[in-house]
């Protein structure tokens, strides 16, 4: 019953976000600020994680290929498939649920605790539109971050494979090009856009409707991370069934 009620409140919140929009010049500056905060400030961690994940996938694939009948180019192929289909969109989104999600919940939650949201409402501002809409729009750029994650993951795989003497550069690149289906990238970006919406709205919900004081802001951030991750993982399964099944 509690879960149903939460889903209902979340749906009403999402509907309210798109009502009574804030004036465009103000909204524009809010969106640019959020792009900087949510996307650009996350690129460092995305590059770092992707590089190493790509490297680990390559090494693990190479170490498990002990049958001489299997071509070495399969290392590049496996790296590409793993990074493009799963690691870049899903793994990065889980990381973003922690980094960006906790920022969103704590910033909105602090505004709730200090009555800043009440102040917005009393002034006649649609606080949900003012606070959440810029985050949703900023997160539309998230697929670009995931594209960088794909590139860095494959680069990390190449570096680990070639420099670690698991494969030659030629074999790795041949594997990357082997049986390439562009739809896999499209599938990945569709997933990313859905995850972006989840990362922007689920933590906002937990921050906006939180009750209590400073300690509860921390608890709300943790809860938001857990639920954002759960929703991402469930949607990942459903979208994979729908788009690839």
């Amino acid at each position: 019953m509690t879960y149903l009620s939460a889903i209902g409140s979340y749906s009403i919140m999402v509907k309210e976000v798109f009502k009574k929009p804030t004036k465009w010049p103000i909204m524009k500056s809010l969106i640019l600020k959020e792009i900087d905060e949510l996307i650009f400030n996350s690129l460092g961690i995305i590059v770092f994680i992707s590089l190493f994940i790509g490297g680990v996938v390559t090494i693990q694939t190479a170490l498990n290929l002990d049958n001489p009948l299997i071509p070495v180019s399969l290392i590049g192929f496996a790296t590409r498939q793993s990074v493009v289909l799963e690691f870049a969109p899903t793994f990065t989104s889980i990381i973003m649920a922690g980094k960006v999600g906790s920022y969103i919940t704590s910033s909105i939650g602090t505004m709730r605790v200090t009555e800043q949201i009440d102040a917005l409402e009393v002034m006649g501002v649609n606080s949900l539109n003012y606070l959440v809409f810029p985050k949703i729009i900023a997160m539309l750029l998230y697929p670009f971050a995931v594209a960088i994650a794909m590139y860095m993951g494959i680069l990390g795989g190449w570096m680990a494979g070639v420099w670690g003497d698991f494969t030659s550069s030629g074999d790795f690149i041949e594997g990357l090009q082997l049986d390439f289906d562009p739809y896999h990238v499209t599938y990945s970006f569709i997933k990313t856009l859905v995850f972006a919406f989840v990362i922007a709205t689920v933590p906002s919900y937990h921050g906006y409707f939180m009750k209590g004081g400073a300690l509860d802001v921390g608890k709300a951030s943790t809860t938001a991370f857990v639920w954002t991750s759960v929703v991402i993982i469930i949607l990942n399964f459903i979208l994979t069934q729908l788009l690839l099944g």
């Binding site: 004036k23 602090t110 009555e115 800043q116 102040a119 009393v122 002034m123 006649g124 649609n126």
Partner: protein
């Protein structure tokens, strides 16, 4: 005039407001007083539309709040200024940004017009050379002044204050009280202050509504509160020895 009729509000099993009816007049400073937990904050939040009462009406100069559409409610709120207990200033904005915020949101004024208006209201609350400071750099009293400046920048018809002098030293508290009263008379607005500060009651209480356990137990003026025999009011207002003596002296003088 604000006319409140038979206001009821509950949270789950807790019946917080139990049929409160009262009026608040233009150009007067009205105080809602009562012990902690008496329902003062819930009452003021109902007036502001932040809580929806289960029963009763709130009439703002002929507009019954519960009968307005959500857009009309938002438009009405633009005529309301509010000073929150903790000031509720936007941390990420400077003093100027905070005060200019309603102008940016709801007017088409030029930058220079907005700056002039901001400087005017900041001068009005005696806050000079603080335009570019952030809330964290201000004292509690200065934050309250910024909150008052932000509340009056749009020339509101209604001003609500939730414990505006809590956490302030007695001298600053009186300055804030007097400032609110001056603004109320100068702009001829309806001001409702939520307070449990007895100095405020005596200084600026042109109308006092006393709440007890969600009921309106008494209402009157700061002159009448000296004479009242209402036990609930006297035990709350004259709980300190000092105020008991003040009341005794006042009654002796009158007799």
């Amino acid at each position: 005039m604000i006319i409140v009729t038979n206001l009821h509000k509950s949270f789950g099993e807790d019946h917080i407001l139990k049929g409160i009816s009262t009026t608040f007049e233009k150009g007067k400073t009205s105080l809602v007083i009562g012990q902690s937990g008496s329902g003062k904050t819930v009452f003021i939040k109902c007036l502001l539309g932040l809580f929806t009462p289960e029963e009763g009406t709130i009439d703002f100069d002929g507009k019954i709040y519960s009968e307005l559409t959500s857009d009309e409610q938002r438009n009405l709120r633009q005529e309301i200024g509010m000073v929150f207990q903790g000031s509720a200033l936007f941390d990420s904005m400077t003093v100027e940004g905070n005060v200019m915020f309603p102008l940016n949101m709801f007017t088409q004024q030029s930058e220079s017009e907005k700056e002039d208006r901001v400087n005017f209201v900041l001068n009005r609350v005696n806050l000079i050379d603080a335009n570019h400071k952030y809330p964290a750099e201000l004292s509690g009293g200065m934050q309250k002044r910024v909150a008052i400046a932000r509340a009056i920048v749009m020339n509101p018809k209604y001003l609500f204050c939730d414990e505006p002098n809590s956490g302030l030293d007695p001298k600053t508290a009186i300055l804030i009280d007097n400032l609110i009263q001056e603004i109320t008379q100068e702009y001829d607005i309806i001001t409702v202050i939520n307070s449990h500060d007895m100095n405020s009651v005596m200084e600026i209480g042109e109308k006092i509504v006393f709440l007890q356990k969600g009921h309106k137990a008494w209402e009157g003026t700061n002159k009448e509160i000296f004479k009242t025999d209402n036990e609930a009011v006297t035990s709350f207002v004259y709980s300190s020895e000092l105020f008991k003596k003040v009341r005794q002296m006042y009654l002796e003088e009158r007799s």
